[in-house]
C-alpha cells in the first residue's frame, strides 16, 4: 500500500524559502591548485523578497548565482553545501533533472539581453516554446499566456511585438522580454545577474521598478546580483555584501547602507560619491580585492582594513548578528587582539 503524503499546512508552504543556500563552496581546480571562488556562503530568500547580492568584480557574486542555476562552467564544481529552491534540493540533481527545474522553478536574467535571446526566432515563438516546454499548455493557451506576460512586463502593443525579432527591440524592451521569458513558467526564484548594467539610467529605473512590481504581484523571490549600491538601495529588501568569495555582511537594506558594521561595507559606502554633498577628497580603500590564488589568511579583508589586529590574519571570522545586521568581523566579536 502506498504511503499517503502528509498534508502540508498552507502557511508552511508559503514559509518555504524561495532559495535556501547553506554553506556553499565552489571550487575551480586548476593546474596550479584548487581555487576556492566561493567559501562557505549561506543565504535565504523568502517568497516575494528581493535579496541584493553586492560586491566588486571578483567577489564571487555572479558565481553564486550561477551555482544556484547549476550553470557553473567546467571545471567549476560545488565542493560543499546545499542549495534548496522552493524546498527542493537542486545541487544534487543530474543535468537532465536540472534542465526541467531550470526555467520551471527558477528563471534567469543576465546582463546582456541581446545574447539571451535567439536572433533567428520571433519573440513570440521563443516565449511560446518556453511556456509549452515547462507547463504543457496547448499552443493557443501558450500564445495567450505569452501575450499576458508581455503586457505584464510593460511592453506596449504586445500583439505586434510577439511577431517581431529581438533586433527590432530597444535595449530596455529586450530586457523586458528576457524578464517575461524568466517568468514564463511561474518560477519561485529569479536570478537577476546585473540586469540593468547594460542600460541607461532612465531605463534602469524602469527595469528595477518592474522587478519590484513583479515581485510584489507574483510572489517570486529575486536574487539581484549587482555592483551598484544605488540599485540595491532602491530595489532590494535585504542585502548580502560579498568580498573575496565570502559574505562579509548581510541584513535589511536600510541598515546595511546607513549603519554598516563591517569595515569593508563602511569603506565601500564612503567611497561612493554623494549626490547631495560635495567633499574635496573621497574616502578610499587602498589596494584592491585579492586574487583567488592569493586570498589572505584569516579575514580576507585584513590587509586593507584600518582596524585589523593580530587575530584578523590568524582566524577567519564567521557571520554573526550585530544589532539588526550580521557581520563577519572580529571587531564586533570580541576584538581583533
Amino acid at each position: 500500500m502506498m504511503v499517503q503524503p502528509i498534508p502540508v499546512p498552507e502557511d508552511s508552504i508559503n514559509a518555504t524559502p524561495a532559495l535556501d543556500v547553506q554553506g556553499l563552496s565552489v571550487e575551480f581546480p586548476t593546474r596550479r591548485g584548487v581555487l576556492k571562488a566561493i567559501d562557505d556562503v549561506s543565504m535565504q530568500i523568502a517568497p516575494g523578497e528581493i535579496l541584493g547580492v553586492v560586491g566588486e568584480s571578483g567577489a564571487g557574486k555572479s558565481i553564486t548565482g550561477l551555482a544556484v542555476l547549476g550553470l557553473l562552467e567546467h571545471p567549476g564544481r560545488i565542493a560543499q553545501g546545499a542549495i534548496h529552491v522552493g524546498g527542493r534540493r537542486v545541487d544534487t540533481l543530474t543535468e537532465a533533472e536540472l534542465t526541467k527545474v531550470r526555467g520551471r522553478e527558477m528563471g534567469a536574467i543576465f546582463q546582456d539581453p541581446l545574447t539571451a535571446l535567439n536572433p533567428l526566432f520571433t519573440v513570440g515563438k521563443q516565449l511560446v516554446e518556453t511556456i509549452r516546454l515547462h507547463t504543457g499548455m496547448s499552443k493557443t493557451e501558450a500564445e495567450g499566456r505569452a501575450l499576458e506576460l508581455l503586457r505584464s512586463v510593460g511592453i506596449p502593443a504586445p500583439e505586434e511585438r510577439l511577431r517581431q525579432y529581438p533586433h527590432q527591440f530597444s535595449g530596455g524592451m529586450r530586457q523586458r522580454v528576457v524578464i517575461a521569458l524568466a517568468l514564463a513558467a511561474g518560477p519561485r526564484l529569479i536570478i537577476a545577474d546585473e540586469p540593468t548594467t547594460a542600460l541607461d539610467v532612465s531605463i534602469q529605473a524602469q527595469i528595477t521598478a518592474l522587478l519590484r512590481k513583479l515581485c510584489d504581484e507574483t510572489g517570486v523571490g529575486i536574487m539581484l546580483v549587482t555592483h551598484d549600491m544605488g540599485v540595491i538601495a532602491e530595489t532590494a529588501d535585504r542585502v548580502c555584501v560579498m568580498y573575496s568569495g565570502r559574505v562579509v555582511e548581510s541584513g535589511p537594506v536600510g541598515d546595511v547602507i546607513h549603519n554598516p558594521q563591517h569595515p569593508y561595507t563602511k569603506g565601500l559606502m564612503a567611497a561612493i560619491p554623494s549626490l547631495h554633498d560635495r567633499v574635496e577628497v573621497l574616502s578610499q580603500i587602498d589596494g584592491s580585492m585579492p586574487r583567488l590564488n592569493a586570498r589572505p589568511s584569516g579575514c580576507a579583508f585584513h590587509p586593507r582594513c584600518p582596524h585589523a589586529g593580530p587575530k584578523c590574519s590568524a582566524q577567519k571570522p564567521l557571520l554573526q548578528k550585530v544589532g539588526t545586521t550580521s557581520a563577519a568581523c572580529w571587531l564586533q566579536q570580541g576584538g581583533t587582539q
Binding site: 532612465s202 544605488g230 540599485v231 549626490l275 560635495r278
Partner: protein, 336 residues
C-alpha cells in the same frame, strides 16, 4: 595679447560644432536595393567653453554624442562643421591636449613594458634630451600616479584595472598636457578603486593646474569632479550650468528626468513609478525638440521647432521653450 587676457582666455572653445557620420549601406547594396544614403548627426551645433583650471563635464545617456565630442576635441575625428580652438598655454603656445580612455584593458599595448608605454610620448615628442632623462621622467610619472618606480619593467597584464588606469593617466601626463580629455575614466572600475582614481585626478588637477573635459554618464561622479556641466540629449546640449545650480535647480525636463531616475543611496526612491519612454534613435530623430515625445510638459510648438540654448541665469543656459518662458515671466515679475 596682454597678460590679463591670457589669464582669462578659456582653455578650450568649441563653437557651433557638428559631426555627421555616413552610415549608408555599401555602394552595391544601395544600388541593388535602391536604398538612399544615410547620415546620422551625432553632434549637432554645440558650443561651449572650458575655463582654465576647471573641470567641464558632459553627461548624457548612451548614444547622445558625448564620446564623439571627446574625440572631436582631441582631433581623433574631424569636425563636419564649426570650430574648435585652444587657448594659450604656459609656454605661449596653444595648450596641449591628451586623452584618457574608458577601458584600461584595451588602451594599453599588452606587448610593451609599462616603462615603454609611458616613455613613448616623451621619445616621440623629444621632450627629454637623453635616454637617462626619459627614464627618470618615467619613474617620476609612475610615482606621481601612485605606482612604484620599478613597475616600469612590468607588463600591463600584471596590474589590476585601477592600476592600469593609473598607467593610462601617467602616459597621458607624459607629454605634459594642460587639457586632459577623460572619456568615462572610471566606468570600468569598481567603486573603491573609482574613489582612488577620482582622488588622484583631483590631486593632479591641483598640483599641475590641469583642465579637464570630463565625459561621463554617472551623475554622482560628475558632481564630485566638475565645476560646470553640460547635459546632452541626442547630439545637442540641452542644458549647461555650474554644478551646484544644475543639481539644485535643473531647468530642462531631461535634466530633471536624469536626476530623478539616478539611484540615490541616501534617499532611495522605492516604489516610485518610473517615467516611461526611451531615447529615440539618432538615425531618425524627432522633429523640433528631440526630447518632446518623452517630455511631460511638451507644448505644441516643441514638435515644430527646436529651441536654442538661451541663458537663464548668470552662467546657466537651457534649450527648452517651457523653461525659457517660465524664466522670462519670473524676470518680468522681478522687474515689476
Amino acid at each position: 595679447m596682454n597678460e590679463l587676457q591670457q589669464e582669462t582666455a578659456p582653455a578650450l572653445s568649441v563653437s557651433h560644432v557638428s559631426k555627421v557620420f555616413d552610415v549608408s549601406a555599401p555602394w552595391l547594396n544601395r544600388v541593388l536595393e535602391r536604398r538612399p544614403k544615410l547620415f546620422v548627426e551625432a553632434v549637432s551645433d554645440i558650443s561651449f567653453t572650458v575655463e582654465k583650471g576647471t573641470c567641464f563635464s558632459i553627461v548624457g545617456e548612451s548614444g547622445c554624442g558625448k564620446s564623439t565630442v571627446a574625440r572631436l576635441v582631441t582631433g581623433l575625428y574631424a569636425t563636419s562643421n564649426g570650430d574648435i580652438s585652444f587657448g594659450t598655454g604656459a609656454t605661449g603656445r596653444p595648450i596641449k591636449v591628451q586623452m584618457i580612455f574608458q577601458d584600461p584593458h584595451s588602451s594599453l599595448n599588452p606587448r610593451w613594458r609599462v616603462g615603454d608605454i609611458i616613455a613613448e610620448p616623451i621619445r616621440e615628442m623629444k621632450l627629454r634630451n637623453s635616454e637617462d632623462e626619459t627614464l627618470a621622467r618615467v619613474r617620476e610619472l609612475l610615482e606621481t600616479v601612485g605606482l612604484g618606480a620599478d613597475d616600469a619593467l612590468k607588463y600591463p597584464h600584471e596590474f589590476s584595472g585601477g592600476q592600469r588606469q593609473r598607467i593610462s593617466i601617467a602616459r597621458a601626463l607624459a607629454s605634459e598636457p594642460e587639457l586632459l580629455v577623460c572619456d568615462e575614466p572610471t566606468s570600468a572600475l569598481d567603486v573603491s578603486v573609482q574613489a582612488q582614481i577620482l582622488n588622484l585626478m583631483r590631486r593632479l588637477q591641483d598640483e599641475l593646474g590641469l583642465t579637464y573635459l570630463f565625459i561621463s554618464h554617472d551623475l554622482s561622479v560628475v558632481r564630485h569632479m566638475s565645476t560646470h556641466i553640460a547635459v546632452m540629449y541626442l547630439g545637442r546640449i540641452v542644458e549647461q550650468a555650474p554644478v551646484e545650480e544644475l543639481f539644485t535647480n535643473p531647468q530642462h525636463p531631461y535634466s530633471k528626468l536624469l536626476l530623478a531616475t539616478i539611484p540615490d543611496i541616501e534617499n532611495p526612491k522605492r516604489r516610485v513609478e518610473a517615467q516611461a519612454g526611451e531615447p529615440p534613435s539618432p538615425l531618425n530623430p524627432p522633429s523640433g525638440c528631440a526630447f518632446h515625445p518623452r517630455c511631460p510638459v511638451a507644448l505644441s510648438k516643441c514638435s515644430q521647432s527646436a529651441p536654442d540654448l538661451c541663458p537663464t541665469s548668470a552662467h546657466g543656459k537651457v534649450a527648452c521653450f517651457v523653461a525659457q518662458d517660465a524664466n522670462n515671466t519670473a524676470m518680468e515679475k522681478a522687474a515689476v
